[in-house]
Symmetry: C5
Amino acid sequence: MNQFLAGGFLRNLLAGMVAVVMAVVMVPVTAQDQKAEALKMDRSKILSQPGVFGVFTTYKWLPEWYELSLSERMDYVSRVMELIKKHEDSVLVDVYLTAGLGGRSDFFFRIHSLELAKVQTFLREFRQTAIGKHVEVLDTLIGVTKPLNYITKERLPELYAGLVSATYTGDIPRYAIVIPVKKSAEWWNLSFDQRLVEMKVHTLSTLEYMGSIKRKLYHSTGLDDADFITYFETSDLIAFNNLLTSLASIPENKYHVRWGDPITLGTILGPEKIVRVLAE
Amino acid sequence: MNQFLAGGFLRNLLAGMVAVVMAVVMVPVTAQDQKAEALKMDRSKILSQPGVFGVFTTYKWLPEWYELSLSERMDYVSRVMELIKKHEDSVLVDVYLTAGLGGRSDFFFRIHSLELAKVQTFLREFRQTAIGKHVEVLDTLIGVTKPLNYITKERLPELYAGLVSATYTGDIPRYAIVIPVKKSAEWWNLSFDQRLVEMKVHTLSTLEYMGSIKRKLYHSTGLDDADFITYFETSDLIAFNNLLTSLASIPENKYHVRWGDPITLGTILGPEKIVRVLAE
Amino acid sequence: MNQFLAGGFLRNLLAGMVAVVMAVVMVPVTAQDQKAEALKMDRSKILSQPGVFGVFTTYKWLPEWYELSLSERMDYVSRVMELIKKHEDSVLVDVYLTAGLGGRSDFFFRIHSLELAKVQTFLREFRQTAIGKHVEVLDTLIGVTKPLNYITKERLPELYAGLVSATYTGDIPRYAIVIPVKKSAEWWNLSFDQRLVEMKVHTLSTLEYMGSIKRKLYHSTGLDDADFITYFETSDLIAFNNLLTSLASIPENKYHVRWGDPITLGTILGPEKIVRVLAE
Amino acid sequence: MNQFLAGGFLRNLLAGMVAVVMAVVMVPVTAQDQKAEALKMDRSKILSQPGVFGVFTTYKWLPEWYELSLSERMDYVSRVMELIKKHEDSVLVDVYLTAGLGGRSDFFFRIHSLELAKVQTFLREFRQTAIGKHVEVLDTLIGVTKPLNYITKERLPELYAGLVSATYTGDIPRYAIVIPVKKSAEWWNLSFDQRLVEMKVHTLSTLEYMGSIKRKLYHSTGLDDADFITYFETSDLIAFNNLLTSLASIPENKYHVRWGDPITLGTILGPEKIVRVLAE
Amino acid sequence: MNQFLAGGFLRNLLAGMVAVVMAVVMVPVTAQDQKAEALKMDRSKILSQPGVFGVFTTYKWLPEWYELSLSERMDYVSRVMELIKKHEDSVLVDVYLTAGLGGRSDFFFRIHSLELAKVQTFLREFRQTAIGKHVEVLDTLIGVTKPLNYITKERLPELYAGLVSATYTGDIPRYAIVIPVKKSAEWWNLSFDQRLVEMKVHTLSTLEYMGSIKRKLYHSTGLDDADFITYFETSDLIAFNNLLTSLASIPENKYHVRWGDPITLGTILGPEKIVRVLAE
């Protein structure tokens, strides 16, 4: 060891720095298990609670990916599965296939966690896997879920009831669409009541589509270059096109400085869906 | 198999994931055949019906492509032909040559299907072919056809009759032009009647060119970062320049926030054309 | 000596051009000759007639280019010369050197033809040559020449006379500048008479520079993402800077949504120039 | 030695040029030590004084990085540690991990110095290390600290007292966020008193968050393409999202022509933090 | 030699073409010397006269550069020095180090010449050197110097006197900043007198900084995508930040459509400075 670095503090610092800039931190399974109960990720809860971080990361295969054999790819995928399993107590990972549809991208992750740093830990370990080494990162969006702030029970009981009672009745959704949104300074400088008026119109426009389109909202101001990440699931893309055209036609749209750019459309790869694809 | 992944559910999940992130799913021909009758793609129908998805994907050759021998290329092209044939019951594939004309791109696909996921399946398999491995994706546009919503028989019988009776009388078109269009919030917030007034002017501007220029419209709002994909075919590019100048000169143009960017111009490679080129 | 290149005309022609691809497909000379008479490209005519397509393609050397030996490059250039010769009945190719001046680009082609598809054929063959394999395409502009539409003899006899009588009196131009132009919806929605007023001012601003600057205009609306390609030749770049400053200072400029972006400046490589460079 | 370069002046010039365009200048330790006392970087002072330059440089690993072994990476990191140590009298280097969160980037440096040229010297030597050879520079921001210019004791004693007494009471911050800001010509052309009114509103909006969010401001006008670099540290990203939403909702926001683009979010890698990560 | 190219004329032609598209033209020293007296570049004259072209070219090292040994780099730099020496009668080359400060760039050239084509010749030969083969061109700006057009002795004798008498009294400048500027159509359509009013305010804002900041202006309209290149030298970057903030705060700023984008900041590498760096 270099004498220059012999002191105890520097030694610790160096070792930590090594861990930080590089490889997979091999946390002992037992230590992890002790925290598991507390952090345990309940899918339905994590997807409905406020205060949950959502990270959307879009990837593109490097050209070398296409040169691998089937068995190599199977092996590589199995390692990512193990990694997702390893982190299941702290992050919930969904995978979407955008190849051929989502511009230059091939797939994206939607990752939920109560702690943003846990998402980073997972994604850094992912980049160390064989698959992670065969991708280029195209884009990252970061948001956090919050309680409804405009359409509340107290403020607008009827509309709220409509929202709450609206149920998705379509097939298991096959497509997901991610649309980042940024609103102008003029929007944010409207009074709350003025914005409430516009959000009522917005909500009324969406109500009729809630049987065929699922929605989820993440707040992003200050976390990335959008104000919101709007996430949709549907099997009826024509209804979706109608909904978005409808949302284009209300005054709120005049306050959009970013609406998409990019819009990312992919197919949903839930476990049950994967099985069905296999069975074909 | 890794013990960690031994459970039945996980095994299925893993297998599915492998299929998803990677290779060509080898669907048995017999299974496919059973669905063929139902999905059979009738070119003239698929090109005139509403509810059909259209995907435009633009490619650029990687430098390695130019190093291949003529016989290698011929072999590679034949495999793409087989792939198009294999999927002909679910997707209709047209190929256009943009090399030298369409900015940095070399060719693009226009793919029609009743199901967007089928387009993805085809395009993913295409990327696994030798040709697919020699290209870079530059851009993707996604739209869906709809019935005419402004100029209808009931609303404007005379103009509608003009539209319906207008017939393309030119040579077999040699060129195709793809122009994505996005309209401002101000446009979408006009009343339907105000927009109708502008679309009447638009339609009148196009009527005189319908003998020499074919048009087709796809709706994109929410599916990609445009509102429409406008697709044209012609052999008379001077008439086309006149038409587009004419469309620039009407009030509708004031509501365009994107009109092109990029405009993609290519030569049309219909099967009969390809054969002719081959025969030279 | 190759008999094919022996004639005096061929020598001059050859001297004026540099080019591109190519290829593989050796079209029999006899077949081509039969079409030659009809398509025969007369330089002075092709550069003055309406209805002629102009394609501007900008290239950058790949890093490998700089690794080649002088004799390899000489050999490669000779093949491009042959290609230009081969296509001389259908396309007229001019070459400009932008290295060191035109942003990231190294050279560009200006190609004229009565048929756009012929330009594509030439450029595709160019990409197949050894030189074409050592370049990256940065940009492509496509336009078509048209008769004067504002300043006509009938409408403005005096100004028209001034335009017609203005003669370039400078040295053989050493520099060419290509400036794409796009005008706003507001411009195109002005009445013809309003636009005529502005174009009179425009023309008056240019008249005093016509002794030292040559101009040529191509119409692009719908063919690429500009409305016009303005092409200039001069040996007096200070006069050119004065002219463009003058054109910035008239009302027409308020209607520009694109004016350059990029402006491409290169040195002209006419046959006589090349000889002069040799003689140095 | 080439005779052409034999003169004394040219020899010096050449030697200097070599030093300039290339390698690690091996300054003798003793010479450096003599200046150490004078330049000694006191972290708390350097982070609170005006007149200190701050450079933010964002990096992305090249694909080759992921191919290195753990021991290679450890060795490489140790060399960067030595370099930071070597320059500790002239530059103060902080490291932040953005991998998975900050768009395409993997980490960034925040470097403080009383002399901008010293930052350049450090960063040039960094690029010569094994780690520096495995990164691509994505972005650089340069700013300088200045005394408070709006909210002063004399002008607004109450608000100033609030600012001064506000103390960060949260956990050791885990996250840092860098947001470049550019203000419009309209903002800068407001009178000082008009801007003071807006900055009072701004300051009031931030006061309630100062217990959970640390802020630091760098002035950039003319040094890079922003007017300010705003730097934040926090462990409470939801509070941070609330603060930024609050700042979006005041009139000052109408004068932003750039606010982010990009916003860069990373985890903080202070020495003590690294030790903790190790201890896990 | 290829028999195909045996003719004398063709042989010359081809050789010249090769020279044009590529390599170092080895002009005999004697021939060059004869022109030397006439073209001799007097640094102080070339930097103060109107009618001088200035080209700013920004470079980034390719990754391979960092793999070279010190002796290789020394050798490569010596060849660039020889090249600068060889061209010293026609171009004046200054070098600036931007590594670590100027975004993604590593260094830039500022080259002055009475003839733009001479700059191209130098830069093309530079690309043929070993150093030129290890760089990527990021950006090029082209301008020309002109006499003062607003603040003249006749028009504003007092202000003119102030400008003329203002003398730089700072240390030898260590930093250079290059800021391209483009002004709106509204600016250029102001009357001369209106623009004069604004330029008076501009000049008054700069006067107090002329003791610590040197300025130089190049006119670019039509030569590249800016209207002006503003070049500054200083050792006091805080004064520079104050000056630019001051220029942001006057009405002229409302007419900027580009001001920077990019701003490029580098350290100045004059011969005397290099010697000093060596001596450290």
